[in-house]
């Protein structure tokens, strides 16, 4: 009995992390029909930028609580600078192309950014444990549990709710939904799809960087941390249905809980369990849980 609480909590914490890293990916796919493989490198950039910025902040002896703001700032800088750079500089010329070709293009961008990271930050790992340790621990049952993880859960909830509100309650959101539904029709209605794409990519990139920035204090930031993220994020997004925010949330929760249970009772099967969930969901629902309906072809 006493082990269920930490398993559930771990599961929800991991699910929150998964949601943060998946939301941006599913949003970009939903609007632009691009599976952004560079999502992983934006995550990595966020982690690196966060480590640097917060590291500098703390070195200067500034109040430790401010380091959290630095994490956020790093994510916003990466998302709003690198995101538009990629979209305006490259992607906007490629929109007519086949979906898989677009994947190859974002894959190329991923490769490029990976080496840019190595050139800027070197190959050694960066460590930034302070923000993680700062809020301390609380007692979960009789086990000490980092408050930081609660912060992560809160952040995921806030992000999810903010995105949902923005999509369904604001005018901009409704324009986005229109573009998701039918791009050509939206253009015919006078929606500036080009600007919608730019904004979407920037938001998606920021979300990726946010995931990276707030993960940085919990791991050693090394080249290549973006890779596993893409594959995990894709698994979550596919389980939920490509383009569905609610699906990503549900998928994250499902995977998070299953993975947490596996880690506690059968650790070797951790990675395997995530993909087993994905495979099982796909067998039952080939396009994911909340996949969009497709119109008849003939």
């Amino acid at each position: 009995m006493s082990s269920i609480l930490p398993v559930a909590f771990d599961g929800i914490a991991y699910a929150s992390w998964l949601f943060l890293i998946s939301a941006g990916l599913t949003l970009i796919y939903g609007v632009m029909r691009i599976l952004n493989v560079a999502h992983g490198s934006l995550y990595a950039l966020g982690a690196y930028a966060a480590s640097s910025l917060a590291g500098v902040w703390l070195e200067r002896g500034l109040p430790a609580a401010g380091s959290f703001a630095m994490l956020l700032l790093a994510a916003i800088l990466v998302g709003c600078l690198v995101g538009p750079l990629i979209e305006r500089g490259l992607l906007q010329w490629m929109y007519g192309k086949d979906e898989v070709v677009l994947v190859l293009i974002t894959y190329a961008v991923f490769l490029i950014i990976e080496d840019v990271i190595k050139l800027v930050w070197g190959v050694d790992s960066l460590l930034l444990p302070e923000p993680y340790a700062l809020p301390g621990n609380f007692l979960l049952g009789d086990l000490p549990y980092p408050v930081y993880n609660v912060l992560l859960i809160a952040m995921a909830l806030a992000t999810g709710l903010a995105l949902a509100w923005a999509l369904y309650r604001t005018r901009q959101g409704k324009l986005l939904l229109a573009v998701i539904h039918d791009r050509e029709m939206s253009m015919a209605m006078g929606i500036n799809v080009s600007r919608v794409y730019l904004a979407t990519f920037a938001v998606g990139a920021t979300l990726a960087a946010l995931g990276g920035a707030f993960t940085a204090p919990t791991v050693a930031v090394t080249p290549g941390i973006g890779v596993e993220v893409i594959v995990l994020a894709f698994a979550v997004v596919v389980i939920g249905g490509l383009g569905s925010l609610g699906g990503a949330a549900l998928g994250a929760l499902l995977v998070g809980l299953v993975r947490s249970a596996t880690v506690h009772y059968w650790p070797e099967a951790e990675l395997f369990s995530i993909y087993a969930v994905m495979a099982m969901v796909l067998i039952a629902r080939p396009k994911g849980l909340f996949a969009a309906q497709e119109a008849r072809k003939i």
């Binding site: 190329a108 490029i112 594959v231 894709f234 596919v238 993909y275 495979a279 796909l282």
Partner: protein, 309 residues
């Protein structure tokens, strides 16, 4: 006949290379053949309209199957290891293909990636298999004949050349006849294929099986050449390299994967000597350049020149 000429010519050239070149070139030629064979499988998939981002899975299975036979079961015969690699990979492809043959486009691409990363995760966590370090193969023989270290590589190259040429001829024959037309049909218009009475699912499944099996063969070849295996074989970067080579060569000719693999290995050797930290960036930039300016791969350059002559 033109095909026979090319096949025999290649065999002769490779045999000459095997017997006369310095060791490093023999080794590189082995790698080129192994990777070329994997990319040949990718070519088959691309002709069907699919891109697999996870051939590293079968490449790794082939390599580890060969290595396990050598290290744990003390099998020494290279031919046996080669067959085992191909068979093991084929078995898994037969299984996974059942799921993957129902998918297309992005799903297919990313699901194949996901499965290769599962194997990576399993290998890395497996202490018994050496984790990230991998493990070595023991001394190899060919058809029971033990060879001196210097000679071994050369003989293996000739054997690899024979395998590669045979596989290339088989694929060429397959894609040249009815199956090739059907495959193009599936790529062009699955709906029509269904309403003619054939099954696109089955076509994709068979091609996926072929691609997986020969990727396993390529993996075994690499294990034999290098004498060591590690999880890197099934990592996404390896799969990505195969995709890059496939795009570089294009799908027009059976020779393209091997020529592209040669160019790739040459570039990689140079890059690792002079600019290791920008290798991935160079790959990325090159990929973008090819997609934008030479979508049919380098082969389209040869086509253009032939047409203008």
């Amino acid at each position: 006949m033109k095909v026979a000429t090319v096949a025999i010519g290649s065999l002769v050239a490779l045999t000459a290379l095997a017997l006369l070149s310095p060791q490093w070139l023999v080794f590189m030629a082995m790698l080129v053949l192994a990777k070329g064979v994997v990319v040949l499988g990718l070519l088959v998939l691309m002709r069907t309209g699919l891109v697999s981002f996870g051939q590293g899975l079968y490449f790794g299975i082939g390599a580890y199957a060969a290595a396990l036979l050598s290290h744990h079961l003390h099998v020494a015969d290279a031919a046996v290891m080669l067959l085992a690699g191909a068979a093991a990979a084929g078995l898994i492809a037969a299984l996974l293909g059942l799921l993957l043959a129902g998918y297309r486009d992005i799903f297919f691409a990313m699901l194949s990636l996901a499965f290769s990363m599962i194997l990576y995760g399993l290998l890395v966590k497996s202490a018994a298999l050496g984790s990230t370090d991998g493990f070595n193969l023991h001394a190899r023989t060919l058809f029971g004949v033990a060879l001196a270290p210097g000679v071994e590589r050369r003989v293996f190259l000739i054997a690899a050349a024979v395998c590669a040429v045979v596989v290339a001829l088989l694929v060429h024959g397959l894609l040249g006849g009815h199956w090739g037309r059907l495959v193009t049909g599936v790529r062009d218009n699955e709906l029509r294929v269904t309403y003619l009475g054939a099954s696109p699912y089955r076509v994709v499944y068979v091609n996926y099986l072929i691609a997986g099996t020969i990727a396993g063969m390529g993996g075994a070849l690499v294990a034999l050449a290098v004498g060591h295996v590690d999880p890197e074989t099934t990592y996404w970067t390896t799969s990505g390299e195969f995709v890059f080579i496939a795009i570089l060569g294009g799908t027009q000719s059976i020779l393209a994967p091997f020529i592209a693999a040669t160019i790739f290995e040459a570039l990689r050797t140079m890059a690792s000597q002079y600019a290791p930290n920008v290798w991935q960036m160079s790959l990325g930039l090159a990929m973008l350049a090819i997609i934008m300016f030479l979508p049919a791969g380098l082969w389209s350059l040869a086509e253009r020149r032939r047409r203008s002559v």
